[in-house]
Every structure is written in structure tokens, then in C-alpha cells.
Symmetry: D2
């Protein structure tokens, strides 16, 4: 029952300078609230709603930037991988490899990730029940790597809507692996804008509070200095200014629940 960790960063790596700026700003906000911090950003957005959505800086440039962030700020770094061929390079640059929700049942990807020995964060598919994640985690654990995180990021609820079932958090915790709540993707409205996904940023801090009250090991919440102009996930990312006040409340709730 360690205090919760914040996993945050901009949805995609936009540039070296932006990544370093964001990591520094978030690390400072987390430190002020007394919350351990992991930096997250993606080098490729492989499943955008539209073929013309901006994809990111690519794997080589992206991993170099992440390695620099890690060195400069001294914080652990997380990124997501989308096919087995990316895994070896990614595992050398970052601390935590993340398996995207749509890919959470792809056996080869999970096994290849597990074999690196890195921490593996698997996002629960929007189409899965929380108890289905035990078999997903077992795919990683079959490699001997038990450094696994399981992330709730919403379940399909009718069309273009997700719902966050807070019961999923204790259910997934029964696996024995730490459970993460992804507050920003949980408020996505998938495909809701026609050629892009919409979202309701304003509910992310509400759901984060609910999740911490239910009990989690970490809160995942993407953030941006100008979310409305971000190249992806703008409607759900949190403005930097929201982070400090949100973390203070989460910290206090976490203390009540784990105290």
C-alpha cells in the first residue's frame, strides 16, 4: 500500500524541447504534492481515428528524446509499443513498456515485451472485463517477468462512449499486480468527432478522485501546456495548471484510503 504514483506527459512526443519542458513542469508539480513521477510520451500514434491524424516523431527520434528526458530529469520513463520489432530498442531507452488497449490480447507482443525484463504496463481493452486481465497478465508472466502493471482506461458503453467501472480496480488488484487508473483516456469519446476522438477533460479529475478513493497504485493522466492545440488527444489532456490542485486532493484521499 505505497502512496500512489503519477504517470503523466503529453500524448505524443512533439519535439525534444517540448518533451523536456513538459517533463520538468510535471516533475515539479508532482514533487510539490509529494507524488512520485513517471514521464510518459509516445513516439508513434499507431491507431489514430483518421489516416491523416499526426503520428509523431518516429521511433528513433522518439526513443532518443525519451532517453534524454530520463537522463536529464532522473525520472522513470514510459512509452508504448505497437509491434514486436519495436520492443528491443524501446526497452533499452525506457523503464516501462506499455501495451495499448486494442493490442492487449496480442500474445506475441505481450511475450516479446515480457522477455525484455522491463516493467510492462498493459492497458485493459475497452472490450474486456476486468477479470479477463488475469489471462492477459499471464501471457507476460509466462516469460518469467512479473513486473506487470494493469491499467483501467474505460469500458465500451454503447457507441462512442466509455464508462469507468470502479469495481474493475479491486478486481484487477486480485491478480496481485499494481493497478493504474488512466483518468484521461477514460473520458475519451472514441470516434465521437467523426474523424477524431472527442472527450470530456473536465471529468478526468473527478474520475481520478473516484479511482484513488477506490484504491490504486498509480494515476495516469496525460497533460499538455496547450491541450486545445495538441496534435492528438487534445480534448482529454489536462492543462498543466490543473495538475497541482488535482494532485493535492488525490494525495489526501490516497492517505485516507491507505492510512
Amino acid at each position: 500500500d505505497l502512496p500512489f504514483v503519477l504517470i503523466s506527459g503529453p500524448c505524443q512526443i512533439e519535439s525534444r524541447d517540448h518533451a523536456l519542458f513538459m517533463a520538468d513542469a510535471l516533475k515539479t508539480a508532482a514533487a510539490q504534492a509529494g507524488v512520485p513521477f513517471v514521464f510518459k510520451s509516445s513516439f508513434d500514434k499507431a491507431n489514430r481515428t483518421s489516416v491523416s491524424g499526426r503520428r509523431g516523431v518516429g521511433i528513433d527520434a522518439g526513443l532518443a528524446i525519451l532517453a534524454e528526458v530520463k537522463g536529464a530529469l532522473g525520472c522513470p520513463v514510459l512509452t508504448d509499443v505497437h509491434e514486436a520489432s519495436q520492443i528491443e530498442a524501446a526497452a533499452q531507452a525506457v523503464d516501462i513498456l506499455q501495451i495499448p488497449a486494442f493490442l492487449c490480447r496480442q500474445t506475441d507482443l505481450l511475450v516479446a515485451a515480457g522477455r525484455t525484463g522491463a516493467v510492462i504496463n498493459v492497458k485493459k481493452g475497452q472490450f474486456l472485463a476486468p477479470w479477463d486481465m488475469a489471462a492477459v497478465a499471464q501471457k507476460v508472466a509466462s516469460t518469467g517477468n512479473e513486473r506487470i502493471l494493469l491499467t483501467e482506461r474505460g469500458a465500451s458503453f454503447g457507441y462512442n462512449t466509455l464508462v469507468s467501472d470502479m469495481r474493475a480496480l479491486p478486481v484487477m488488484a486480485q491478480t496481485g499486480y499494481p493497478v493504474v487508473f488512466d483518468a484521461t483516456h477514460s473520458v475519451q469519446q472514441p470516434g465521437g468527432l467523426g474523424s477524431a476522438s472527442g472527450g470530456q477533460r473536465a471529468f478526468a479529475p473527478v474520475l481520478a478522485r473516484s479511482a484513488v478513493a477506490a484504491g490504486v497504485a498509480a494515476v495516469f493522466a496525460e497533460a499538455h501546456d496547450d491541450p486545445d492545440n495538441a496534435p492528438s488527444d487534445g480534448p482529454v489532456m489536462l492543462p498543466l495548471a490543473w495538475m497541482g490542485p488535482m494532485l493535492e486532493r488525490l494525495k489526501a484521499i490516497d492517505a485516507v484510503v491507505k492510512g
Copy 2:
């Protein structure tokens, strides 16, 4: 942003002695946690899964017992009504009239309840969106009675399952009326036992914490001294012993959120 209130009691009135015993035990537990208390119990279970489910003591005996509880313990009392003909008598015995979720769109029932001037607690139908409750509340308010409470008790999620969308709480609060979270009916598995509804009592305190962290005016949670042998809603009612520890945590979370 007043501190949250507890609405609790056994699902149905089983006898005068049992109602008085439960009200006293719950009032004591609430007082120890510093939580205001409203006693809830039903004189008739009008929509049991099975025609042979036990219905309760009936309206005359039930209202007399509720009036006695109110007098003996000095706490406000809530009961639910199922047709317009019950409303006048009920309003004379209790402080809060509750409209069951299945009946939350029945205009005549809402209007008749509103006309009594009593506080009206409308449970959101499992088939409604939270924003649909504005039109429901307006049916009551059309009588000039603005003493309205709106209760979240789960939304249909596939078959025989409910899900608690914590976003519903701030959405309903936008009406300006106080919002209640019903922690025990939200963990029902409607019809899940074939000739009865099942449920998962263990998740009720988890969801109650999540709801209080999201922000509510009251928590509704039915309780019983022997839930596994209760005539209705046994699978979801909380044992008396759970109440004290749960309220203490809820109280602390409520203070964080409203502080």
C-alpha cells in the same frame, strides 16, 4: 457543500421491533462518525423479481412504524411510494418520499408527490442518462416544490449488470438539486439469480468511497443485522458491523473534497 448525510435502514420493514432496533443501531454508528442520519425502510416491495418474493408489512402498519421510529429516535425518515393513492398518507408519516427508479418517469406519481411539499427523492432509472434527470426533476418542480433529491443507483450495462458512472454525480448536480449515491442498489445484479436479484455487497463500500470522492450530498446504503437471511436485497445490504469503519473513511474523504 455541507458534509454528506447517511440514508440507511433495512430494505423492508420486517417488524416494529426490528425497525426500531436497526434505526437505533444505525443512528448510533452515524453519530459516532459525525454523520447526519436519515432512516429508510419500505412498507411494500412492489416490484420483486418473483411474484412469491416477500412484499412487506403493508402501508398502514408500515407508516405507523415509521412514524414511531421518527418519534422515538428524532431522525428524519424516508420511504418509497409506488402509486398516487399512497402519497398522502405517506407524506403525513415521513419526511422524504422516494420515487423508485422504474417509476421515475411516471408523471402523475411525481406530481402527486411534489404537491405534498415533502422532500422528494427521485431515483434515476437504470435506463436513463444523468442529463435526463433534469426533465424528471422538472415534473416535481412544476408543483412549486423544489425540495428535490436525485439519486444515482446504477445504469444498465449489458444483461443482469449495472455500472456506476461517477460522472453522473456532477452531471446531476448541475440541476442544482442535491445528489445522492445509492451504494447498495448499485451493486445489484438484477434478475441475476433467476427468481431473485443477486448482488455484490463487497463492492458497495468501494463505490461509496468513489462517489464521495466525486462529490455527493448523501450516501444511501441499506443495512441489516443479518443480511443473508433478509427477506429482500440480502445480497447487497451491508452488515451492521461494516457501517462504522465505512463511515469514518467516507467522512475523511468528504472533508478532503469539500474542504
Copy 3:
């Protein structure tokens, strides 16, 4: 495996002349397609989205009109009841008493309806699984009245949306009671217009074809000579001109399935 029956009419009784006109037009269309016809209309819309939605002509005028339609056209007549006090009068005027979906678990209403000996059509609640309807039918059958119809009219699917699960039709048929598919209410978007329910009329004939292909005893589809100006359910009612072509296709599919 008798050929399917059409249950149709305007959502609410607007006037004596309109009811007679609609019944005549629909009876003619059904006869041309060789489909037995039951006239349906409501004397009261008791659960409108908004308190200001038009309610109808009332029980006395409404039942008189329905009795006149029955006499003039020689077709069976169906109407819905909303509380036990309406049942005796309604059973004297019409052949089939319908229990609305929201009320399908109200034991007293089901039992009072069953006792009349009339045919009882129970609509499945949007919050129920198809197998839950066995216990609902049993409430009616407990009176000795086995003249029961069970109607599918959509299941809650996220917010403001229904989905028609065609598996529900054979599941409900396992009760032994005839199963009806309600094609027009199934395309409602409940509450979707804010102060009214929306709908997608264009999908009603599609779903009716799907349901007849799955196998049903009757198709329920409300119709109107000017649906866009109807006082209720306008977005889902079928224009009169659609009825003939739809029935011809349904008749042919029904013959394939039951042949």
C-alpha cells in the same frame, strides 16, 4: 407457427375521427398483405419525457373511442394501462391490455391485469434481460390467466440509445408465450432530444425484417398519417405509405421462416 400479426395504430388517441381513420387505413393495408390486424392506441401517455408533453384524451373518452373502433372495424383492440385502478374499465373496452416497459415488474399491476382474463401484453423493460421475462410472465400466470404476450422493445445500450438483440426473441419464446417485436419503440433514442425522445424511423422496417427472420408471432409498429406533427413518438412512427410495402416483405420472410 401461425403467420405473424400486425399490431399498429397511432401512439395516442388524438380524436374519435383520427382513430377511426387510422384504424381503417391500417386494417386495409394489412388485409391487402394478408396480415391479421390488431389496432393499438393509448388514452394516456403517463411517462412522457417532459411534464409538458401532451398526455392524450383521458381514460373515459379514450376507452369509448377504442370500443367504437372495435365495433366499427371488427378488429381486436389493444391499449396500455398504468395503474391498477384503470384495469377493470379498460378490460371491458379492449381485447388486449398492455403493460408498459417501465412498469413490467410492478406486481400489483400485472396481477390485476391478469385477473381480468384479457390477453396481457407485457413489454420487456429496457433494463431487463430476455430470460428475466419468465418471472414477469409468471406474475400474470399466477392468476390463472395464460393468455400472455411478451414484447421486445429494445435494451439500454449506453445513454440515450437502445439496441435490439434478436437473440431475445427465441429466448423469450422459450416461455411458451407468443413473442412480439416492437419495431418503432426499438428505434427510440430515449431522452435524446433533451425534453423529448428522439428516434430513427428509417431503421424500423430494417429491424422488423430482422425480427420476422428470427421468428416472431407479431410485429408492433406505430403509424401515423403525419408523424412529424404527431403529439408523441413522432420521430419513430411510420408514415402510412410505408406500411404496405413493409408488410409484403415481412409476409414473405415470415413464410420462409415458418414454412
Copy 4:
């Protein structure tokens, strides 16, 4: 409005002899009903529920068998691909490349498939609305390849359950691409057996009838000579003996709808 096509075969290629036997049996049944036939089988099951689920014969052996089936029986052949590296080889062996539902948003996979010029069948993710498939198809079409099929295979409906929304068929048809209904995966109960997916084979012919009545270009239905002992998807695959009677009814319904 061409008559519907059958896409069928065993879930996975079990051996050369089994694939040839099944293709021959299914081709014969389809020919007897006058239905064009496409053989489907997988060389790798890349996303089994459990890490120990049988995966199949592998890409080299599998594609060789599919090419032999195609040559021996003279029918088009379909198989699914899971990463870009498989696509070139697969496109040389088969006529139709299928994108699995979980992967239907992976831009690189869709684009690489499109570039082969083969027919591309994209299964709609269980987490997508039917209108979201326009942007998915556009990813393939961005390569200049407009030979696209879109397949409905069920939408998430609560946990461990799918529902088939027949409205999805005409909605997807608005893209202008032919629409396929997958009758056997639509009756899966994903994860429903704990370490495997369950299913309700008995409903597959019902849903196939409903889909053909709604209007489709093809019906996808996996079949097996001994489904209860098949290495994957046993609970949903159709016994060979069911195929003939099902196709006859579907053929007659298709004629009504397209006549």
C-alpha cells in the same frame, strides 16, 4: 444487390487434409444452395484468451495449404493477418486479406494491406460504432485500393457479452463498400470461460437470418466437422450438418429482400 456470398471454413488450419476436407464439404453445401463460396481459415491465432491456447500451423505451412485449397477447389480464399510483415506473403497466397477486429484501427496494418491490391476485409472492432468504420475504410482507400469489405461481428454489451445491432449493417453500407455479417463470432462470449472464450452456437443461424433480412453482401460463419473438439472457437462454430438447411433459408430471405 447481388445474392449473398458465404465465407466459411474452420477457425484455424489444423492440417492440409482437414482444410481440404472442410473446403470441399462447404463448397458442396454452398453449391447445393446456389450460394457463392469463399474459404476462410487462419494460419495463426494471435490473440487467444490464454497464452496456452493452440495457435495454428504457422504462416509458411498455412499459406501453402491455403494456396493448395484455392488451386484444388477453384474457390477464393480468405485469411487474416496480424502484422505488416505477414502481408506480402499472404497476399500472394490468398484473395482476401482480413484485418482482425482488435486491429481494425492499426493504420500501418491497414495501409500495408491496402497496398497489395488484394480485397481487404476489415472486421469492425467490438469497441467501435458502425459509423466509425468510414474512417477505418478510408485508411485502406488512401492507398488507392477500393476493394474493401466491412464486417460486423458484434459490439461490446456489458462484460463477456456481445450484441448484434442490425442497424449497423445499413449504416456501414452507406460507405458504399459491401457489408459482411459474421454470424459465429457474433455469438462469442469473450473471455466467458475464464481461460477461453465461450459462445452460443445455437443463436448463429438466428442472427444470420436477421442479418440477411436486414440486407448484407455476405455471411461469414465458421464451420467444423467436430466443433466441440476444435482447437479454437469450438463453442461458436457450426457443425457441417447445419450448413445446408441454414443456407437454404438464407437464400430465400435474401431473394425476398433483394428481389
